[in-house]
């Protein structure tokens, strides 16, 4: 099962309501056959721009990151489900980023003349 990352932005609410919303979301994920690995809280911060959702304008939100393994069919169904949830401002499913930092051999100088001009045979 491929590994996904759900970047979730929830409405700025009180702690118990926020917890309830997260619980709902993760239960929905598990219902559809996902194995949740990790849930990170990136804090409550002001949104970079005003987001209008469910007839409301939001300027602050709680940022969460859900790391899970699930079948590929989960993405469309979950987007549908989260679109209908009033407390969710912006859900985004991403492939889990593979951190590859090896083999950066530096800038190799390219011979532009050979690259851009075709030599006459």
């Amino acid at each position: 099962m491929p590994r996904y990352e759900l970047a979730l932005i929830l409405k700025a609410m009180q702690r118990p309501e926020m917890a309830a919303a997260l619980k709902r979301t993760i239960e929905a994920l598990m219902e559809r056959g996902a194995v949740v690995r990790d849930l990170e809280n990136l804090g409550e911060r002001s949104l970079p721009y005003k987001i209008s959702k469910h007839n409301q304008d939001h300027r602050r939100g709680g940022y969460f990151l859900v790391d899970f393994d699930g079948p590929p069919t989960i993405v469309s169904t979950m987007m549908d489900h989260l679109g209908r949830d009033v407390d969710v401002i912006r859900p985004t499913f991403l492939k889990h980023p593979v951190s590859k930092t090896e083999e950066c051999g530096g800038i190799i100088p390219v011979n532009y003349e050979d690259k851009l001009y075709t030599k006459k045979k």
């Binding site: 970047a7 970079p48 940022y63 912006r90 530096g106 800038i107």
Partner: protein
């Protein structure tokens, strides 16, 4: 003076021979010193004196860009904001950031992703990151 001018390539060997004979040096020495001796004589390998072919040991290591070896992530808004204009929020080009092709593409993709997801502002730079160290070679008009 005239005598030295007269000494040609052939004449020099002759002179050596004469001098050697006079001083009692071995005949083989004078033969070797003679310029233009025939190849029928014993071949001494000249290759010992020639320089050994090797890769330049004083070559500089390849130049690395600022992000060489650093993982670029859409969540790392502070890093991404360093490559964005503070006034308009536009992404700086390669000639300003000085990044290699791969990293420039990665940064560009990450910034656009962060815009959509709602992590990074689009038309301005987040004010908390305005006083970050300057990486880009941008010169604003006075």
């Amino acid at each position: 003076m005239a005598a030295t001018l007269v000494v040609s390539s052939r004449g020099w060997g002759r002179l050596q021979q004469i001098l050697a004979a006079g001083q009692g040096a071995s005949a083989s020495c004078s033969v070797l010193w003679r310029r233009g001796y025939s190849s029928q004589q014993e071949q001494v390998s000249h290759n010992e004196d020639l320089p050994i072919q090797m890769e330049n040991p004083y070559k500089d290591p390849p130049k690395r860009c600022v992000l060489c070896g650093i993982n670029v992530d859409y969540k790392n808004v502070q890093l991404l904001s360093q490559f964005v204009s503070p006034y308009t929020g536009r992404i700086y080009g390669r000639h300003i950031t000085g990044l290699c092709g791969k990293k420039q593409k990665e940064i560009s993709k990450a910034i656009k992703r962060a815009h959509v997801i709602g992590f990074m502002p689009v038309v301005y730079k987040d004010p908390t990151f305005l006083n970050d160290p300057k990486i880009c070679d941008i010169r604003h008009p006075e």
